[in-house]
Amino acid sequence: MTSVQLHYFALLREQRGLSSEVLATSATDAAALYAELSARHGFTLPIDRVRVAINGEFAPWNTPLLEGAELVFIPPVAGG
């Protein structure tokens, strides 16, 4: 199990019902973690409409999860 820190924004924050959490997961990469959380919390955004940031930078979905990493799933942006 890997322990990671998660922050949620916008639609994902509302669907998760909280802004951050620390989670122990058996997922080995960011994509698997998003799939796990989608199944558990009913996220409506398919993974191909979401990006992931790890430790404050955009990262590929297949980035392995390291102990203590900080992840943010980024829903489609809409500034302006």
Binding site: H7, F9, A10, L11, R13, E14, T44, L45, P46, D48, R49, R51, A53, G56, E57, F58, A59, P60, W61, V72, I74, P75, P76, V77, A78, G79, G80
Partner: protein
């Protein structure tokens, strides 16, 4: 060259002052205002939320990229977060250049890239009482269609 997220109202004259430059013949400014409609729905207010650390990092990259592609002297962008009422200023972009062509093109590029890449989200509050996160609809029911997804990774 600063890109900033602000939780407090933006004052364009104050923001523009930092761009004063005697070499500049052209100053172009963009302001995004909260308008009273989107598509066919009457809007009452907008709520903006940002992943501030990454937004400011990605925004700074946009300004740096634009500065390499256009002959500008200065550029800045500030984006509001929080609940905004109709007519309020949501985003401000200012660009200076010796000549107007570069200033117009750079200003346009900065707001286009900001909307496409910077982790800021907008929830519309309609007069009907409904709300919707823009670009996040998954059944095409109320919000605007998703913009094309930017490439993963910085730059």
């Amino acid at each position: 060259m600063t890109f900033r997220i602000s939780t407090t109202p933006l004052d364009p004259p104050t923001l523009a002052r930092d761009l004063l430059d005697l070499r500049a013949g052209a100053y172009v400014e963009f302001q995004g205002w909260v308008r009273n409609h989107n598509e066919d729905q009457a809007v009452q207010a907008l709520e903006y939320e940002a992943y501030v650390a990454l937004a400011e990092k990605e925004g700074a990259r946009i300004l740096a990229e634009v500065a390499t592609r256009h002959a500008i002297l200065g550029a800045a962008c500030v984006h509001r977060t929080g609940l905004l009422q109709l007519g309020e200023l949501a985003v401000w972009v200012g660009v200076t250049a010796a000549h107007r062509g570069a200033a117009f093109e750079a200003c346009r590029a900065i707001i286009d890239e900001t909307k496409a890449r910077v982790p800021i989200w907008k929830k519309e509050h309609y007069t009907s009482g409904a709300t919707g996160w823009i670009n996040c609809a998954t059944r095409g029911d109320f919000a605007t269609p998703a913009a094309p997804q930017p490439q993963a990774g910085p730059g």
